[in-house]
Symmetry: D2
Subunit: 440 residues, 4 copies
């Protein structure tokens, strides 16, 4: 009897998942190591050949077959309750540790193991919304990866035109903020008045974890298009007094939430300070990605504000399709929109009382100061449709960063410049700033 191709695919997938399950159980059962590496290697190879459906089945298996055994847990609980001591506690700890943690550690013995585990977490995160049963699996991976990608194991490397091509092509692929248009554009971004740094882990030597792009300029940059202009002249770096962090991109979806960005900015600032003695100012030029959506969601309140009518009119008019949303607001909206943006950044909050804007949250938590709000600073379609064309300079004053961070974490206080404060004060909001569900 002939099987249909579809059926054959289903069977092949089943076979693979079954084989993978066997390999994982065998790997976990190993008492000595001679065959572990071989088992791990085959397991990785089988995983690499799974399609989405196959992966989903494998994740199921991880969730079900490699979880703590309820009976063992209960027995360990009983023993601990009967005699709570170091021994019974250790036994309890062991009983509740999901066996897949050890499984993951053993998979790591094969070449490429770390990369595959990072990929697995990425694949799980991609489907997690619809699969709450995979949360424990994701949590175990996150726990492990957080331990392995500890700050102490990560190294900072400068990226420039002398960097191997296989790393550079990843910058092109991963740049998340301001797209890199091929190798010539990349080259311009690595010119003498630019800097680029990335974090690397020794087990992923070819894969940047996160990278930041910096422009060396004179004075605080107030708009991004001139920075990105491939035709602009290259400046002698010794003339710069300011380093503008204009793009930070995470490269590994599988390391989402295992934060490196905060370390990166501070370490790069320290690096630049010692390389270029005249550079004294370290600041970002950042989008305000939640601003436009917040404006749309608060149309009514805005109408009630002094000068709010024309903002509301503009919002209404440019709602809807992408083409519309990316029309730059006219200069008559400059004041009210800058004020509203200051208000949004300082006062619009999530349920947890942190700033509604995700970029603001990131930099303010890091200890930066909200220094300046720039009009017509990103005129690209994305810049207008998300941030109304506005960009923000977050200032990293190195000897103030820790104090700001503490104030933010402990008291929820946001550090802003007087100028931004003044802008925000001009907004007399009818009621407490509405909450906005965070975009991401």
């Amino acid at each position: 009897m002939l099987l249909s191709p579809r059926l054959r695919a289903v069977i092949a997938r089943r076979d693979r998942v079954a084989r993978l399950g066997e390999l994982c159980h065998a790997l976990l059962a190993e008492h000595g190591e001679p065959s572990s590496a071989a088992l791990a290697m085959e397991a990785l190879a089988v995983y690499a050949r799974l399609d989405d459906a196959g992966r989903a089945e494998f994740f199921d298996l991880l969730a079900r077959e490699f979880a703590p055994d309820p009976d063992t847990v209960m027995r360990a609980i009983d023993a601990y309750r009967a005699a709570p001591n170091a021994g019974t506690l250790a036994a309890l700890e062991h009983a509740v540790e999901p066996p897949r943690q050890e499984l993951f550690r053993r998979l790591n013995m094969a070449p490429g193991g770390t990369a595959t585990l990072v990929a697995i977490r990425g694949h799980i995160l991609a489907v997690l919304k619809g699969r709450p049963d995979l949360e424990p699996v994701e949590r175990d991976l996150a726990h492990l990866l957080r331990s392995w990608f500890n700050r102490g194991f990560i190294t900072l490397q400068r990226i420039d035109w002398h960097t191997p091509a296989h790393v550079l092509e990843k910058l092109i692929r991963y740049e998340a903020v301001h797209e890199i248009n091929g190798w010539d554009d990349l080259r311009r971004r690595l010119a003498a008045d630019r800097r680029c740094f990335a974090f690397f882990h020794p087990s992923l030597p070819d894969e940047p974890l996160i990278f930041v792009e910096v422009a060396l300029v004179k004075g605080l940059a107030s708009s991004v298009q001139p920075l990105l202009d491939p035709a602009r002249e290259v400046m002698v770096p010794e003339r710069a007094d300011t380093a503008i962090f204009y793009s930070i991109s995470d490269c590994q979806p599988g390391l989402h939430g295992i934060s490196f960005g905060n370390f990166l900015i501070k370490q790069v600032a320290a690096e630049l300070e010692s390389e270029l003695r005249k550079v004294k100012t370290f600041a970002t030029l950042s989008p305000v990605p939640g601003f436009r959506a917040w404006l749309d969601a608060n149309l009514q309140e805005i109408t009630l504000l002094e000068g709010g009518m024309k903002v509301a009119a503009w919002l209404e008019k440019n709602r809807g399709q992408a083409a519309r949303r990316s029309v730059l607001p006219g200069d008559e909206l400059r004041e009210p929109l800058l004020q509203l943006c200051a208000h949004y950044l300082m006062r619009a909050q999530r349920k947890d009382q942190r700033p509604a804007d995700p970029v603001a949250r990131f930099h303010l938590r890091n200890g930066a100061r909200l220094e300046r709000i720039n009009w017509a600073a990103d005129t690209s379609p994305r810049g207008v449709s998300q941030s109304a064309g506005i960009m923000v300079n977050y200032l990293y004053e190195l000897d103030e960063v820790e104090r700001n961070h503490e104030a933010y974490v402990n008291e929820g206080r946001v550090t802003v410049s007087r100028r931004v404060e003044t802008l925000a004060r001009a907004v007399r909001w009818p009621q407490p700033a509405s909450e906005l569900a965070p975009a991401s």
Copy 2:
């Protein structure tokens, strides 16, 4: 009022331990990371200045103040028992994880963190016998270090005369089996007919974890003194057909029990096989460190054996002081001692039914075959007093290793050559081989 120096020292120590405790608590309390690295750095610096007594106090503190909180554990248990689900299980898992695990991970953020954590475990192991209360602390460190020193993170490096001096001096320091007498001796051990390989971890780039010394020879080497002779001629390595692993040394007391040796031998064998196509035989020349003690402990039984009287006489005569114990047995004892040694290696067992001899356990578990037992093979004082001058070749037959390992682990079967088997058979032991507590 003037304090005595001793009193001042006590106070200084108290201050340091107190400060270290504060730093650890602060580090654990950190919500964001800006100050974490600074706290970790200071903590490491304070630890570095502690003396033994100070360390002991700090270990106390780790045991008491950074253990799971019993109330929280009990509440998590109750919640789980009330509703055993993924959420309550995760909460229980979190409740029983000792906070010091996270503390250790955070200490690792400072430069040199990994090295210090390895050192701390070494210091704890050194006092553990008298301090059972530190066992949970040691276990946490072992758990963490086993995860961080996962096989996947470790790299094999060849060591030779082109290796930096600061690494080479560590070989001199750590060589555990056959002492290296200074740089000239070392140089000879790195000559063209020798190989040396070590495992390294990226966070300890200057510190070999374990290294193995190999002699390239013709035929299975049957005694070690010629191998170590600094005056022997250097052979062209292309003429060799056999690689003799004559010394394996662990370098990091703080990584005790986090096994790398098994990987090392097999990876080095693979490396040599591809470098030197004519080398087909991979074997050790190993001591039998428990043999003499076992002989002494079984004097009575030995007396009952055919030919056992003269062995017993020799044992009695050379008991006691070091000088006596290191007198090489005469050739008339050759047969009975070789037979007894075969018997000892194959049949003398620990309580867990594994071979009594620790070196035998290591290689047999790795999948090696007990190939040959060599008479008058190590005539050094240590060689005679521990192994009666006998050394053993364990043979690593690469395509047989895994099968042997499985047989050993699953059935407790020891793979031996026919020749060794014949030797052992000659011994008609009056009763089951006595057990001997392992030396190390």
Copy 3:
């Protein structure tokens, strides 16, 4: 009085050349070295700012002011004639060595000196045709660079996608045979079934001197378009039995005539042989760049040959504009053109009795064998207009290369396969093959 911009430029140039002349004289006059490096550095900086006219003036100066002094030469001649001995000979040798040789050596002390000297020779070669007075200067530079770029100082490096971008971009720039269309094309040429190697000199670490591109294939490749096709599938290199050298490009015009190509091919073949044990055949796929011009120049004789009429007709028809010249000949011309090509390669000679075709000269001198002539092998416009679409496999039989080379150099004998010989024999040329001035 105001000067015109043109006049000001002339004056600035004069000033620069004058300053450069002073610096060179001062550098040569230096007895000790403390200031030499500084003088050399300034001289390089001034040279870098010269335009073409300024360079021409500087070359004049090198020719006139840094040549041997005729009076000194004559005196040294007289002394030698009076008493020909080691002393007077050494003095004569010294008198005839142009001082600019020492000047060049001293310029080399500044950072970037070697690169500038290579550039200077390139600049001189570019104008040499019209400036026979610069020949001695060029010869001195060639003498020096030949000594410095001695084979013993040059290293072979593999180029692949892990190579730094600043080196890779030079491949794109310098590829002389089959243009590289940007980074994606380059990437394809560095895939797993391709190899690329370059020679480097330690003083020009960022500059390949020459590079060769190799395709790993099964069987002797007979046409180049499939090799260059960016869409072709990548083959597992272990399956290859043949390495095709399909492009060799010189990168440094200033090193013209300082031959490395012959070394390169042989060293790369040796490299590949040891990397890929199954690759047994090393051959080129080369153009016949002088073939079409030779055909055109021998139209009359061709008409007289058997079957020559249709060849002549095709040549006449497709003469002239580029578009015409690049029309591929029809298959009815296959036999006569292949025969004529064999005849051309084997018998058409320059005045020095070496093969007329420059590519043939290069490979035959290297000891390769003219193995196969391929029809419709390069269908690109250049391929057709220069080589009538034909390409040749020169075979590097490693243990025959030296014998072939000797035969070629000493007896002018060209080694060809039987197949090619047969093709050539079919041509009954009316008279000795005409000579053709070499194209390049």
Copy 4:
């Protein structure tokens, strides 16, 4: 008939030299390169097996058979005299260049060629005194090596305890001034308050050309024994304000006279200045190796000086055997000997009117200032017997070095501190300072 071993050795040597001669001629006759490398390689191998007598014969051969051909020279002379133009001059230049120059360049093509050519020059220099006929050969090698070891090709590398052992052992071997007593002594000399730098050539990556040892100290060091004391405490380098160059050693006898030392000191000073911002003073602590011999040679004049009698008495008494000569002079001789030393360094001259003392010549020519003369500064036997225990600080004032150098080279002026000047003035020498043939 049996040959005596001696006779057989003679014949073997003859055979080798004859073979080497053939190889050299063949190498020079090569028109293409395929076999050149093989010929060069064999030639190097044969040379390596020659004993002293064999080498001498080979040097003969180089002098006779690879010199310019007198007839060719004479014909080129005639042609030039008949028509002195660029062409005949080039021909003459070519005729007088000894063919061995090209031979040496071709020998360099084989691996290890450069090292062998350096060795050959060393071997020739060692016998040159008795072999004036080898002078042209030596001169050709010197010409070539000076060109190849051009400053532009040489790199500075820091040497420390992270340097590979095979380089470090060469420091022990080559240290010429203050012997290194094994690895522990070496290690101390590479501690945190020491620096060591060496020049390397890319073709001799394992061989330092010259190295300098530096002590970081507070204030100008006035005696060398404390610097060398292995038991002294290591100072934090940040506390140092002065860098003392206490030893410079040439490593390659074959590069004698191809000066690097002057570059080395200045480059190391620049390096240290940028590493350690607080180090402002760069000075040597140098012996006065010709002083004692000069004293002995000028006994009569010294007697005539004020206070000269007791100096003369001491000289007479401690003349002769080594043991005597190394008795440190008593403090009552301090003033007169310091004065005489100042006089000697400033006024005692060679025939060429340069300072008689070789170390003084080296540093003064480099642009250093004779800063201070230290009493009882080197109490070692060598220090006393050569320098009467005196050592000198030559000061490298970086912005004065060039001026001093010019003054020295052009006017023969020696730059000294006021203090040294005053010492010298106290000596009223009866007649112009006697000349002393330089020791080395």
